[in-house]
């Protein structure tokens, strides 16, 4: 079993990229590898509550639900959250100290920035 970490770093607006990163993360579990998703920099907005349907974008609700069901840890980088004044995160996403983020990345066999 490998440890795979997917890092979401960019704004979720005007793009399907972040939703696709999450769909890909679901797919990566299919060979019994342990998949962790990290949200950092502007990517933390993906893990914050938003009404993306107001700008005609489908929220990646299903991706989050399935990742939770598959027990994939989802971590949001605390300094990135604080810098952007984000007050709350989606269910099952936890705020993590930079040390934990670094440890998760360095302990991974595969790291995929998306």
């Amino acid at each position: 079993m490998k440890k795979i970490t997917v890092i979401v770093r960019n704004l979720p607006l005007n793009t399907r990229r972040n939703a696709e990163a999450l769909r890909m993360s679901v797919g990566l579990t299919l060979r019994e590898d342990k998949v962790t998703v990290i949200f950092m920099d502007d990517g933390v907005y993906t893990a914050a509550p938003a009404k993306s349907e107001l700008v005609n974008a489908a929220p990646p609700k299903k991706e989050f639900e399935v990742l939770s069901m598959l027990k994939c840890p989802m971590l949001a980088d605390k300094p990135s959250i604080e810098k952007r004044g984000i007050k709350s995160l989606l269910a099952n996403v936890s705020a993590a100290e930079r040390e934990e983020i670094v440890r998760t990345i360095t302990e991974s066999d595969v790291v995929i920035p998306f």
């Binding site: 679901v26 797919g27 579990t29 299919l30 598959l70």
Partner: protein, 74 residues
């Protein structure tokens, strides 16, 4: 009697994830019949299941963009 699973409206990789989770509930040798309406899934899900050791008993087109895949759990 096959266990039925309706995956209409689902796309990759949820088609495979949900098929796999359903198979985990079954005993070895039991049959699962999955309905898909996502064309790529009809090709890819059986191929991936074979790779996991399961047996594909048949793929039947039931209408425009509607297929039933019958699987025997390994």
């Amino acid at each position: 009697m096959a266990v039925e699973l309706d995956l209409k409206g689902e796309v990759c990789p949820y088609t495979f994830v949900k098929t796999k989770l359903k198979l985990e509930e079954l005993e070895s040798g039991e049959e699962l019949a999955v309905t898909f309406d996502h064309a790529p899934a009809v090709e890819n899900v059986p191929r991936s299941l074979k790779n996991e050791g399961h047996k594909i008993l048949g793929i039947e087109q039931q209408g425009d963009h509607l297929w039933k895949v019958r699987i025997r759990k390994a």
